[in-house]
Symmetry: C2
Subunit: 575 residues, 2 copies
């Protein structure tokens, strides 16, 4: 039917030119006649989406702004992570389903403990870490694994947040899996999988497969780079990254991050010798005891900060002082408590007592953040010393370190003033010792509702605001991220909530506080830099909101940097 | 020196007439000459304060408004509680110091368990309950005791709040006492006190005395009543009470409360048979199981509500639906778990599993408040049925019950709508069954920052707002009341906070949210009734704040009603 073909080809061109987009057309040929039934813009994968937009741009069918608007930010995610081989996937068997907590495909042998993950990985195995839930002690293992599967925890559980930060795939809250740590087995729907058995997980869908499903690493094509360049041309909102290691900083920089919006210092304490010194600090009864332990920590911290500042040379690096409750760092097992007793020359009973005394009813609302720095000012002094010593050394080596020191969990102006005094006094000492001076800023996280409500007071002292929207969402809604699983599903099902507010920023409530704080802060300090560093910093609608209310930057985990860049550019175009 | 005396007497009159207040004068007589060194308004006890003000008023030296302003609201507290005999107190030995958690003096024999307190009390002993901390299970014991002494907990711990509500004296957070429940002893500074030993505590100062220090009950004099009548003449803000029992309601009514601002239903569940049914409800896996248990609870609840509505006949009674996390109700001990296993015909392991599954990381931010009513709508239905059935029965008996049903912990308009639908549907059923109709209102507690921020949305459905400033303070500051003891003392010492924000309402932060919510709520519902029912409802500066922003009432524990009435009247005079 060469005639029909010619007609079809012409019509197809005409429709594509009319809609300026790839068309998904339905037609039929009946009794030698071509009938067009319907046409609509075609659905596409992330890769195709970018290719089509850039092709249409190059063909002159659409302009740059339209090309930007044609791409859906979240779909870029597919381009950045490994995916399963399509043919292999067809044959694979789904054995259970969890939450799609961190995108990408991962395949490896089951291990249950962080140490085993690290050991097997060192021996050349690919592993998937399977846990009931993860804690900061599992970080090294998670880092060594291809992916993480947990029985408990939501989209913002420890496993999910850390995995997204690392760019590891993760399926969390797979309630049907029964982990037996003692036997090193996991039972799923009646089948028992042992340590060493292969398993595959898809963190983009939440599906879990038995056996080995091959994965492939996607290439970042030229089209992708061109799209990102286009973003930079239009965006007003800068994109930074949340990174705690030189490696993450480098990954994000390669993705186009313009600095670090959040370096959490707490993860740095979990490696072997550091955790002993950290525990000694926490378990000490006296200022002297704490200072002795902090002196041991100082060189580790300095080295960590030096690595990060070096990887981000010439770009701002916003470092948050110690934030989590101390209870998270101390040993809860007998062996760990014995080690500490020996190390500190006290009885196990004493250690146990001190550990127990740190337990809190609601740790999220307890002794953490700047409350630690205020009750233990020597911690703030040590961390400041570590940050600025690292910067001084780099400067002497001819580098351009740009640290920012951020005081967390401020709710009262006087908290900030008190911490700022310690930071400034320590800075003076360090600069004298090194004989160089570093330009640095002291800012705060706005994550307590009261900080937002009194932003005009806090901005009299703070040089910048970084909105910690995870905590701000927790306190504005009164939801604990760790406990939300018991009612969130019902809320979504009954349409009381349209989306999980920890994933998509709640503009009506939390957003109102943020907008108010930006406005009030700039009333007293017009040049006040405002950024967001919560999980929302990588979610398109939230990034657009931040752009629209005039924030200076959004900061997100490295693998979401391209998504945030596109969303930010779109916000500028929409304006 | 009759001449000097005459001079002195004349001058003293002149000064008192000049200052219109009792004077504290210093003078000396040197070489036969009278010298006046200084004079100032005299300090006085609460009783003297009231007497002097009313005397001056009667003498025509001051007017009514001045008489009102001359009295310090907090000093009324002394008039309402037992005090130690002054002579005996001089000989008494202070053995330790805790927080002055609930005013008054108490003396009795030491007991450590609620059951013992009740038993000893029934046997005619006066007892002081000594605990590490208290929980809802201790209520009956606390009620039977003369006072409560705890090792842990702040001014807003369970013990403190409940004791203030009951008008019992309480010393909390006495860190130096070491309670040994097994041995039934408490060691204080090296001395061991056994069950049955006498101890005396002063809840107004936090001091603890060894042995028996006699107390005396103060009389409410005619002056006091006259002062209260004067308050009513000027006040714009009404005073209600927080009461969970007919007894408390009656006490408060005698003190002049115009209704109940908060009836918590949770305390009602802790008596013997009720707690079994309550636990059965919580531990059930199915809707049917829960409904069966709720049917057992219904008659108990109805009787409780009937008693309270009757005691407050003709006055509004605001009843809050179930609020605390379910974990607080279930048995954590082996014996309790066995009882429930037997009762429900399941294994102890099953019970234990269910109990464990209810544990939360941050219960304050977890599955509680209306989140319970939404996930388990049958609870809301049962409580509504109990409230309205009680009201219908009273109406048929010729009474005038005025219930208000309050949905707690609202953060989203749709939460409220969903609960309101259940309440209205149940009301319709109950009214048809009884053949009578009760006028009642459905309102909400504003205690989540997001509720305040979206007050204009919530007021489209809610008929009144009751500000729960305890929770609102917790979430606005990000402070857990139960964990604040680890940093609050340092905050007060370093002057980061001037006062404990759980005692004195923070007007700069929390107050800003409240003011905003009242304003926004009345924009859509001009007649919106607004009240406060947190602990702050009995604190003078907080009550004045509420009056100034146009609230309709403040609600406080019965023994603070006179204080709130005076503060409210002063606010009106100040305006």
């Amino acid at each position: 039917m060469p005639e029909i073909y010619k007609q079809l080809d012409a019509l197809q061109d005409k429709l594509e030119n009319h809609y300026h987009d790839m068309q998904d057309m339905e037609f039929t040929v009946q009794e030698g006649k071509l009938w067009f039934l319907q046409t609509r813009n075609g659905k596409r994968t992330g890769t195709a989406m970018v290719k089509i937009a850039m092709d249409l741009l190059k063909e002159g069918l659409i302009d740059e702004k339209t090309a930007l608007m044609r791409c859906e930010p979240n779909k870029l995610d597919e381009l950045l992570h490994p995916v399963f081989d399509k043919d292999a996937l067809k044959k694979a068997k789904v054995i259970t389903q969890g939450l799609p907590a961190s995108p990408g495909a991962g395949c490896g042998q089951i291990v249950f403990f962080a140490e085993d993950a690290a050991k097997w990985h060192a021996d050349g195995h690919r592993v998937v870490m399977v846990r009931i839930e993860t804690s900061p002690e599992d970080l090294a293992g998670m880092s060594a694994a291809e992916g993480i599967l947990t029985a408990r925890g939501g989209m913002t559980s420890h496993a999910a947040v850390v995995a997204r930060g690392m760019g590891k795939c993760c399926v969390s809250g797979a309630g049907a899996i029964n982990v037996d740590y003692k036997a090193k087995t996991v039972e799923i729907e009646g089948v028992v999988y042992k340590e060493g058995d292969y398993i595959s997980i898809n963190g983009s869908t939440g599906q879990v497969y038995a056996g080995e499903v091959p994965t492939k690493v996607p290439e970042l094509s030229g089209d992708f780079k061109e799209l990102m360049d286009l973003c930079d041309k239009y965006t007003k909102l800068q994109v930074r990254t949340n990174a705690d290691t030189p490696h993450d900083a480098q990954v994000a920089r390669n993705f186009g991050a313009k600095g670090i919006g959040l370096t959490r210092t707490e993860h740095m304490f979990f490696e072997d010798k550091k955790i002993i010194a950290m525990r000694e600090m926490i378990l000490s009864d006296t200022v002297e005891g704490r200072k002795k332990a902090l002196e041991k920590l100082l060189p580790y911290q300095k080295a960590d900060f030096k690595g990060i500042l070096e990887a981000m040379d010439g770009c701002p690096v916003n470092i948050r002082l110690l934030d989590p409750p101390l209870h998270e760092f101390v040993p809860h097992d007998a062996a760990g408590q014995e080690t500490m007793a020996k190390e500190m020359g006290v009885s196990v009973t004493d250690i146990k007592k001190r550990v127990d005394s740190l337990a809190e009813n609601n740790p999220m609302l307890g002794h953490r953040g700047c409350r630690l720095g205020i009750t233990f000012p020597e911690i703030t002094a040590m961390q400041t010393r570590a940050i600025l010593s690292a910067a001084c050394e780099l400067k002497k080596e001819g580098k351009d370190p740009r640290p920012e020191i951020m005081v967390p969990l401020i709710g009262i102006l006087y908290e900030f003033k008190q911490q700022k005094e310690i930071i400034e006094a320590t800075a003076k000492e360090v600069f004298e010792e090194y004989g160089v001076t570093i330009d640095f800023e002291i800012g705060t996280m706005i994550e307590i509702p009261r900080a937002a409500l009194t932003a005009d007071r806090i901005a009299t002292e703070a040089q910048y605001f970084s909105f910690g929207t995870n905590d701000l969402t927790q306190m504005t809604f009164g939801y604990s991220r760790d406990d939300i699983a018991s009612f969130l599903p019902v809320y979504l099902e009954k349409k009381i909530l349209k989306v999980d507010p920890f994933q998509v920023l709640d503009q009506k409530g939390v957003g109102k506080l943020i907008k108010y704080a930006v406005k009030k802060g700039r009333e007293v300090r017009p040049e006040l830099r405002c950024g967001i560093c919560g999980e929302h910093g990588g979610e398109p609608s939230s990034v657009k909101f931040c752009a629209k209310i005039g924030m200076n930057y959004a900061s997100c985990s490295p693998f979401r940097v391209p998504i945030a860049r596109l969303a930010a550019a779109q916000a500028a175009v929409e304006e």
